[in-house]
């Protein structure tokens, strides 16, 4: 299934792009991360410490064990620092 993957802040810099569309069979966020990590070193580096990352599914904060279901847009980013 085709899904949009977004990256923000230093994760975006490490992956080297802000968004991409990929065709994936991953059933959960964790499976998607494993799939990305296996692709290229820059993904492996970016996702080397998943515990320090956050994920949003269709713009709602979620977690790595969540099923992707019909999610269109998956965003990965470091802990937020607004305010």
């Amino acid at each position: 299934m085709k899904r949009d993957i977004l990256y923000f802040a230093w994760l975006r810099e490490r992956v080297g792009l802000p968004r991409e569309t990929i065709d994936t069979n991953a059933a959960t966020v964790a499976e998607l991360v494993a799939e990305l990590t296996a692709r290229e070193d820059r993904y492996a580096l970016a996702f080397s410490d998943p515990g320090s990352l956050r994920v949003a599914l269709d713009q709602e904060l979620s977690d790595f064990s969540a099923p992707l279901g019909s999610t269109r847009e998956i965003a990965f980013f470091p802990p937020m620092t607004g305010g």
């Binding site: 949003a56 713009q59 709602e60 965003a75 607004g82 305010g83």
Partner: protein
Amino acid sequence: MIPLDIRVQAKPFDYGQECGRFAQQTGRVGAVVTFCGIVRDTDTGALERMEIEHYPGMTERALTQIAEHAAARWDIKACTIIHRHGPMGPGEAIMMVATASPHRADAFAAADFLMDYLKSRAPFWKKEITNQGATWVEAKDSDEAALDRW
């Protein structure tokens, strides 16, 4: 529904003017509390500028949800949140919140709550550009811990 005024914008805003307008429009309820976050110098070198990245779409959504939670929990009659993104210099206002309530305790608690949640749950990321280079600001454990107060 109470009037929520939520703005995510690159352009500067005038904190004093926004405070005046908010109090003018909603102040008759009695108590107004505002918070303003301003770009300050860092410990690691003279700050040239700050750059804030955000997640368009999710940002507005997250801020609206946080404001709605505050409005459900405290007796507030109006709430404004303004947050900038993009580059900004030292001394410029980064963001503000304002709450109005008949009770000063509610106005304070709601503004304090908004700040805690906005800090750790709204998708903004700060980068500081100093004469030593550029650094992403790291989230503080104390910011995440602050959420347990509520």
